[in-house]
């Protein structure tokens, strides 16, 4: 240690990087340093789409129940997009935020001029970006591997994507608010994710669902998200019902999360 006197070494004229940018860089680095996370949010959904699309019988046959679409056209890639987004929203985000809360990372920041809410914002931004990346890669994959068409109504696709991820991440924030700790976060995320994936049509496509189940699917966040994406992919506007359902989930989960979130 040197024996400097006076306030620690000043270099005032230096251009400063802004806190939001610096925090984004730091969180992005931490994200990339956890290889398992990228595996579950990008590689696994992509790999599943390619393997199932290639080896599951009937995936590349026109299905009369789907208006003659093949499963690899919209059903399979949209389910994998839903899987990727839900993994980020329901397990990654609550896990990181619960860990930060448990280990005092948020509390430590709350005594600096930068509010810990910025960590929340950066985490959401980062994970939404990863979901977007997973989506774009998924589109490229099915176009290249199965000769599927890219989304025919790209603007509606973008609107549906945005409405859907906002709803899913609002639910993720609610999870982060109510789980007691980071260990519980992973479990809670899976408990929420698998039923919602089922309702989204992961194992039984919505076209094959009995009416009662399809109604439940319509009002579930994954079902509304998936169907809106598939409609836009096929070239139609999404049903207003599905966009309304996504907005509703966003409002309910978002407001509850804002009320219940604890910083320490």
């Amino acid at each position: 240690m040197t024996s400097t006197t006076g306030p620690a070494v000043t270099r005032p004229a230096r251009r400063r990087t802004s806190a939001p940018l610096r925090l984004t860089v730091a969180e992005a680095r931490l994200y990339l340093r956890e290889p398992a996370v990228l595996f579950f949010t990008i590689i696994l959904p992509l790999g599943l789409a390619l393997v199932l699309g290639n080896f599951l019988p009937g995936m590349r046959e026109p299905d009369p129940l789907m208006n003659g679409q093949r499963a690899v056209d919209t059903q399979l890639p949209v389910m994998m997009i839903t899987l990727a987004a839900m993994t980020s929203a329901f397990t990654i985000v609550p896990g990181v935020l619960a860990l930060y809360r448990e280990r005092g990372v948020l509390r430590r920041m709350s005594v600096t001029p930068v509010p810990p809410a910025l960590v929340l914002a950066v985490q959401l931004l980062l994970n939404v970006t990863i979901s977007l990346l997973a989506t774009l890669l998924m589109i490229a994959a099915v176009v290249l591997a199965f000769d599927s068409r890219p989304p025919a109504a790209p603007l509606w696709f973008a609107v549906s994507f945005l409405a859907g991820v906002v709803a899913l991440f609002a639910i993720g924030l609610l999870l982060a608010a109510v789980v007691p700790g980071s260990r519980a976060a992973g479990g809670a995320g899976s408990v929420v994710m698998f039923p919602l994936l089922f309702l989204a049509g992961m194992w039984i496509p919505r076209e094959h669902m009995p009416d009662g189940l399809r109604v439940a699917s319509d009002i579930s966040p994954g079902g509304a998200f998936g169907q809106a994406l598939r409609d836009a992919w096929a070239g139609a506007a999404p049903q207003p019902l599905h966009l309304a359902v996504l907005l509703g989930w966003t409002l309910v989960a978002g407001l509850l999360a804002a009320r219940l979130f604890r910083w320490e």
Binding site: M1, P7, A8, V9, R16, L30, R33, G104, T112, P113
Partner: protein, 304 residues
């Protein structure tokens, strides 16, 4: 000039008063200790100072500002190192400091700070791989990177080995030498005695005393203690001295207790009567004794 001012601070959790009428003020440039057992209300008190808690009663000012009303400005002027706060495992020491530097308008040069805190070689080491002492040094550096006027350091050396603890103490003295006022929260009396200019002893949410370490020790009945071998005729002579509060003899060994100046007074009296003491040992009460005398129970505990 006082940098931190607490007036009749009250804070109640679930009907139990955690802080019950605490007042003290911290002067510019001093190391001010807040000592007490775990659960005495130390942390709650400094949480009110750093604006993390809203007091139920009383006032707190930091450099004249209210930590909750003038939240933003107080956060710029006050650096806080909190108990039980860690960083993400994979965040590297240099990245952490660079990140925290970006939170302030005129930060210190984080690279120089890293060197100064002996962490230059650990710049690319993830937080999880740092030793306890290195983590604590990084934590202090984070509290100082905004170049605050006041730094609050809470339970800084808990869980450190004696060597790392001493290094941390040296560091705190170096920080003070730069003109930063320091509030040190601790339940280690040795630490408080060694570092603090003044100390507030907090017991069960109340201030038991505010004084210098010397002043607190001097309050202990029989703070000075000496034992020696001397002829029996010395006893009545010594008992008469105003500095002597107690004298016990067993065989030719006596133990004398008393207040400041005991040693000088006893020796000169013995010399004047041509009595030669042998096997002389002088002892002094410690802050631990003072704490015990003030609060009725020792500060030390089994769970550290």
């Amino acid at each position: 000039m006082s940098v931190i001012e607490l007036r009749n601070l009250h804070k109640t959790y679930a009907g139990r008063a955690a802080v019950d009428d605490v007042s003290f003020s911290v002067s510019e440039g001093e190391i001010f200790g807040v000592v007490g057992r775990n659960g005495a209300g130390k942390t709650t008190t400094v949480e009110c100072v750093s604006g993390l808690r809203r007091p139920d009663g009383g006032t707190v000012t930091v450099t004249g500002l209210d930590p909750r009303r003038d939240r933003a400005e107080v956060r710029r002027r006050l650096g806080v190192q909190l108990q039980d706060c860690t960083l993400p495992d994979r965040l590297r020491a240099g990245e952490a400091l660079e990140l925290y530097a970006s939170f302030y308008e005129r930060p210190a040069d984080w690279r120089a700070l890293l060197e100064e805190f002996g962490l230059g070689a650990k710049r690319d080491t993830p937080f999880a791989k740092l030793s306890g002492g290195q983590r604590q040094r990084l934590s202090i550096a984070l509290a100082l990177v905004g170049r605050p006027r006041v730094a609050i350091l809470d339970e800084l050396t808990t869980g450190l080995d004696p060597q790392a603890r001493r290094e941390t103490w040296d560091l705190i003295e170096a920080v003070r030498a730069r003109g930063v006022t320091i509030v040190l929260v601790t339940h280690f009396m040795e630490e408080a005695e060694r570092l603090c200019d003044r100390i507030a002893v907090i017991d069960a949410g109340r201030v038991a005393a505010v004084d210098t370490p010397e002043g607190l020790i001097a309050r202990v009945e029989g703070a000075e203690r000496m034992s020696l071998r001397v002829e029996q005729r010395a006893d009545p002579l010594l008992r008469e001295l105003p500095e002597v509060t107690g004298l016990t003899r067993s065989g030719d060994q006596i133990t004398v207790t008393g207040s400041d100046g005991l040693l000088f007074s006893v020796i000169t009296t013995l010399a004047a009567h041509r009595l030669t003491p042998a096997g002389l040992r002088a002892d002094r009460a410690t802050l631990d004794d003072a704490f015990l005398a003030l609060t009725g129970r020792p500060a030390a505990e089994t769970t550290a």
